[in-house]
């Protein structure tokens, strides 16, 4: 998941030699780097990070030149650290390594522990270990404030993402739900961490809370249109339907604390709702 090269480890060990020209080729790496590095160190981020509808730091990102995630674009900045993601083209990574650019891969953590480790590792690569610890501590504090009463039965919830994907056990979102005091109903289906599920299955699961993952994108797509199916509007009369913007849980970054807070609030609202039939 995370493979710092020899040179970036050396940079991390020697605080004086912090990387000065960092280029990120992945949305999740963009945001972590912007949170952790000194201003001016990050030279370029992806175009995705500049869209306020699916990015958390769009304003900061918009001030920087955008890239499309290609190795060639990164090399134009003569980088001393290039951040890539799990879906960056392997050929791009190979090319970067070939020309000697230090590459660090930011993964997609599937647990809260993985989120902490990721922040810590990237902070080390950027030579900012203290900022990393502060970011983690802030996230922990927010998570700790979401008190879940262990004596109450958990509300049953199911997640519906664009294209009819839901989130199964063993995923970060599953852990986010648990943290918010919810019971992920999709764990009872025989599915992997992230899988497409027919709408009728979702409707008949018997959830108390239906969580829609919306990015608020202005441009239409069939994937998003799947969340506008009239059956969902009809379900809203029988259960609580809440939307959670994709930017809060697409990347395993510190913003997941906000996702947990919002879901816990939605659960409280769902409990307050009078039972139907």
């Amino acid at each position: 998941m995370f493979s710092p090269t020899a040179s970036s480890r050396a940079a991390a060990a020697d605080g004086a030699a912090k990387p000065q020209r960092v280029v990120s080729l992945n949305l999740c790496a963009d945001e972590l780097a912007l949170r952790l590095a000194d201003p001016g160190v990050v030279k370029s981020v992806t175009w995705l990070a500049q869209d306020p509808r699916n990015a958390n730091l769009a304003e900061e990102a918009a001030a920087l030149p955008a890239n499309d995630g290609h190795a060639e674009e990164a090399l134009a900045y003569d980088p001393d650290l290039v951040l890539v993601g799990p879906f960056t083209d392997p050929a791009s990574i190979a090319l970067l390594r070939q020309v000697g650019a230090p590459v660090v891969e930011v993964g997609a953590p599937q647990t809260l522990d993985g989120v902490r480790r990721q922040i810590r590792d990237l902070a080390a690569a950027l030579g900012e270990p203290r900022r990393g610890e502060a970011l983690i501590a802030n996230m922990e504090a927010r998570l700790a404030r979401v008190a879940v009463d262990p004596s109450r039965s958990r509300l049953k919830a199911v997640v519906l993402r664009p294209n009819g994907f839901t989130v199964g056990p063993g995923s970060l979102v599953d852990e986010i739900l648990t943290r918010a005091g919810l019971d992920n109903l999709a764990a009872r289906l025989d599915i992997a961490a992230d899988e497409q599920v027919p709408l009728e299955v979702v409707a008949l699961l018997g959830a108390d809370l239906l969580i829609l993952d919306r990015d608020g994108s202005a441009a239409p797509s069939l994937a998003d249109a799947a969340l506008d199916h009239p059956a969902i509007a009809a379900l809203a009369r029988r259960m609580t339907v809440t939307s959670l913007p994709a930017r809060l849980w697409t990347c395993g970054g510190p913003e997941i604390a906000e996702a947990v807070e919002r879901l816990a609030a939605a659960a409280t609202a769902a409990r307050a709702r009078p039972a139907t039939q």
Binding site: L48, N54, P162, N163, G164, E195, Q196, P198, L199, E200, V201, A203, L204, G206, S217, A218, A219, P220, S221, L222, A223, D224, A226, H229, P230, A231, A234, L235, R237, R238, Q277
Partner: protein
């Protein structure tokens, strides 16, 4: 084909009745088969009693539009296939093979991803119809009026690949990150999680298309005797062509805008029924439409029963049946030539 012209002795009315009954059975199967266990009888009772249970909701909002769209789109494809084959006097003239479906998919894609579909409700099916008309006119320009099979197929290949490329381009230009991955739906088609409003949007244009196609039956029968004979019998061939192109574009365009392009149905349905109607293209229309509905409903039941997730696109299922048939057809035409 002359060797098979005798056909099978079946009365026309019993044939239509039998196919209609089979369509009904297939539609019921489509309502019953699904991913979640649903007591259809109880859901139906709830729906009629006005009780808004989740079962009734799933039945009305998910199962019903899926089955109704399956029947409607299948009928459109089977009927349009039979009509185009009569017009071009070529058994390979399927809306998918000759590029009409591909054109419709591009029209619908251009309207949907540009955001125009949000401006007025009918924009999307009308986009599909416009794309289908352009493709049909292009085809007619390239291969109309007694052109050989080779020209027809080459024209179809050209229009299909161009429309497919334009569809990919339109999807790539969309700023929505999901759009680029949706080409599968538009090129292969699916009935998964379609909705009632989509059915109501496509239905009016579809019905007008059906009326135009079905009412051309006598002229098509006359045309099978040759253009001169048809003209001497008093049929205006220019008008017939316009009527058939408009009818096929309306039916196929509205269908593709809702379900994506589903291939081979317009090829399989007329082929299966041709021997039963004495090879008369006029009589083939209605029965071919019904056979198309049966084929598509059956394919849609099959993709839900095959344990593959996410479910197969409908075009995959119809191609698995249709491609060998197309191959056989071409092989036979080559031997007869």
């Amino acid at each position: 084909m002359s060797a098979r012209a005798q056909g099978v002795e079946v009365g026309y009315a019993p044939l239509v009745a039998a196919l209609a009954a089979l369509t009904l059975v297939a539609a019921l199967a489509s309502l019953t088969v699904g991913y979640a266990r649903l007591d259809v009888a109880a859901a139906l009772a709830d729906a009629f009693a006005g009780r808004s249970t989740v079962a009734a909701l799933v039945f009305e909002q998910i199962r019903l539009p899926r089955a109704a769209l399956g029947a409607m789109v299948g009928f459109s494809l089977g009927l349009a296939g039979a009509a185009l084959q009569g017009l071009l006097r070529n058994p390979l003239a399927d809306p998918g093979v000759i590029g009409v479906s591909g054109g419709a998919a591009f029209g619908a894609v251009a309207v949907f991803y540009s955001g125009l579909a949000g401006v007025f409700a009918l924009a999307m099916p009308l986009g599909g119809v416009a794309g289908a008309i352009v493709a049909a006119l292009l085809l007619y320009g390239l291969a109309g009026r007694g052109a050989g099979t080779m020209t027809l197929i080459l024209a179809g290949v050209t229009i299909n690949s161009f429309a497919g490329a334009l569809t990919a381009l339109a999807l790539n230009l969309s700023p929505n990150p999901y759009a680029a991955y949706e080409i599968m739906f538009w090129l292969m088609g699916s009935l998964a999680d379609r909705s009632l409003p989509q059915l109501w949007l496509a239905a009016p244009l579809t019905v007008v298309g059906w009326a135009l196609l079905l009412s051309s039956a006598p002229a098509l029968d006359a045309l099978s005797l040759g253009e001169d004979t048809a003209a001497s019998l008093g049929f205006d061939l220019g008008r017939l062509r316009a009527q058939l192109v408009a009818g096929a574009a309306l039916a196929v365009g509205a269908a593709v805008a809702v379900t994506g392009a589903i291939g081979f149905v317009g090829l399989v349905a007329p082929h299966l029924l041709r021997p039963f109607v004495g090879h008369r293209p006029g009589r083939l229309l209605l029965v071919s439409g019904l056979a198309g509905a049966i084929v598509l409903l059956a394919a849609d039941v099959a993709v839900r029963l095959i344990p593959v997730h996410p479910e197969l696109k409908l075009g995959v299922a119809t191609a698995l049946i249709g491609a060998p048939l197309l191959y056989g057809l071409i092989d036979r035409m080559r031997k007869e030539a």
